[in-house]
């Protein structure tokens, strides 16, 4: 469950990114955050992962008040929230398999390196044949699937994605979203910030529209435009 209560965010340069956002995303929900560039979608994603802090208001993730989280407790939050970025954030010097293993090492889960979890995860995202390839040898869709595998391998109950199809062609974008739908069907809460109108219109899922830092629309089965 993700809850934002009257969240305001003003960046140090004076930009008001969020202006009283309140929303609730229950467990196992699948929601799109839509709106023009600069509306505040990315800020919401970053607040959920405590990549940014609020100016005023509260953010709760699974009953944890993220705004009051001590610095040393932030890693625990981030292990529960998987984030998928438009630019994938893969390490270019590591293979697909090593990129996935890297997060297990970084989160001190060395035991899972040898119990078949990595192979299982790579099979789930359809990358079994690409495990020894480096990111530059992969298509955009495959790179994004590697990034999803990286979030998946940690069995995060929440996945937030910031423009996950932004750098992908239509087909790869569609495949990526299908993968996220499958994960949602297995119980993962999925929040996707996107500009992809066709995708949102086709999916007919919950749509939260943000404009100038405010929620202007929240429909349970909406399209890109209201």
């Amino acid at each position: 469950m993700i809850v934002l209560e009257d969240v305001h965010k003003v960046y140090p340069n004076g930009t008001q990114a969020l202006n009283g956002v309140s929303l609730e995303i229950p467990e196992r929900d699948f929601a799109f955050l839509v709106g023009p560039s600069g509306a505040g979608k990315t800020t919401i994603i970053r607040l959920i992962n405590r990549d940014e802090t609020v100016t005023t208001g509260s953010v709760f993730v699974e009953a944890t008040d993220v705004t009051r989280l001590r610095r040393r407790d932030v890693p625990q939050l981030r292990r529960r929230v998987g984030v998928i970025y438009q630019d994938y954030k893969l390490l270019p010097s590591l293979t697909v398999r090593q990129n996935v293993e890297f997060v297990l090492k970084a989160t001190n889960e060395f035991d899972h390196l040898s119990d078949g979890l990595v192979e299982e995860t790579l099979a789930t995202v359809g990358l079994t044949r690409r495990t020894n390839h480096y990111p530059h040898q992969l298509s955009g869709g495959e790179q994004q699937r590697t990034a999803i595998a990286r979030a998946l391998v940690r069995r995060c109950p929440i996945l937030v994605a910031d423009e996950p199809t932004g750098n992908l062609d239509q087909e790869s974008g569609w495949e990526t979203i299908q993968l996220l739908v499958q994960l949602n069907a297995r119980g993962t809460t999925v929040v996707i910030a996107t500009h992809n109108r066709m995708l949102v219109d086709t999916m007919r899922r919950r749509v939260i529209e943000i404009e100038r830092g405010r929620v202007v629309r929240d429909e349970p089965e909406g399209g890109y435009y209201g």
Binding site: D51, P75, L77, R78, R79, K89, T107
Partner: protein, 296 residues
């Protein structure tokens, strides 16, 4: 099991990082070694000067000659008091008879002189052996004021004061140089690690975003710093032991009055100290280098 994995990961990452920047790593190790050899050299000089001061202190006898008319009880009371003073080692009363006996034993050929004299002309004295030469001036002045008891106070003040002066100067200069050299070593290690951190900033960012703890991110870099400091210090320690073994006997032969430590304990302690300084400076330097990149 988990700890073994973590240790292997830390060491593996550190060695990979060091190998990736091997030119910089080599430079930092050599600089650290040179700095630590110089630092240990200054410590050895300081130690020699300290030993010199102590040795002079042990030799510095302050002698107060007792007036013939002074009452023995008064002299004994002063001796008892002197024995309780800090810096005072041994206090011995040499009676007139003892003085004569010493004179006779030392100047066997000139016993005729004494035969000419009707009575014993040698005064009784109080001889002080001092552990701390810095107490000499005050003590001498105090005894000199007791004119009813003591006739004269003899003190090798000039030499003592000069050695104390040189020793203090060397200590201050040594401390300044030691601080400066530690600073330079820290600077070199910090910059080497900063370059390593900069090269891996993307890795650090991803680690932080997926929930790695600060320690997990910092660990490999601290290990890198400790390895640079430790290897540099190891080279310095080996060089120190070899150089000292070669140089100490030569110095002792040429300048025989210098109390240069030739015992292995001193060199071993110095080598261990050098290793510790290297490890601590290396680890701390790295610890602070990474801090800036942890606020993801």
């Amino acid at each position: 099991m988990a700890r073994l994995h973590v240790a292997r990961y830390l060491l593996g990452s550190a060695l990979t990082g060091l190998w990736r920047n091997r030119t910089m790593t080599g430079g930092a190790i050599v600089t650290t070694a040179i700095m630590l050899i110089t630092l240990a050299g200054f410590l050895a000089i300081n130690d020699t000067l300290n030993q010199m001061v102590t040795a002079l202190g042990r030799k510095s006898n302050l002698i107060a000659y007792v007036r013939d008319e002074a009452r023995p009880t008064q002299v004994m009371a002063i001796i008892d008091d002197l024995r309780t003073r800090p810096g005072v080692g041994e206090v011995q009363f040499v009676s007139k008879e003892d003085a004569l006996a010493i004179f006779e034993s030392r100047f066997v050929d000139q016993r005729d002189i004494l035969d000419v004299l009707q009575s014993n002309p040698l005064p009784a004295s109080v001889e002080l052996r001092l552990n701390d030469p810095s107490v000499v001036p005050d003590l001498a002045q105090e005894l000199q004021t007791m004119t009813t008891v003591f006739d004269d106070v003899v003190v090798p003040l000039d030499v003592v004061e000069e050695v104390i002066g040189i020793s203090n100067l060397a200590r201050v200069a040594g401390s300044v140089i030691i601080i400066a050299l530690t600073g330079v070593t820290l600077f070199v290690i910090v910059n080497t690690i900063r370059i390593a951190v900069f090269a891996r900033r993307q890795e650090i960012e991803i680690m932080k975003l997926v929930g790695a703890t600060d320690w997990f991110v910092r660990g490999p870099f601290v290990a890198e710093g400790a390895i640079i400091g430790g290897v540099g210090a190891g080279i310095a320690a080996i060089a120190l032991v070899v150089l000292y073994a070669q140089a100490a006997p030569v110095v002792t032969r040429i300048v025989s009055f210098l109390p240069v430590s030739t015992d292995t304990d001193f060199v071993r302690n110095l080598a261990v100290f050098t290793l510790l300084v290297g490890l601590i400076v290396g680890s701390l330097g790295s610890y602070f280098s990474v801090r800036r990149y942890l606020s993801v």
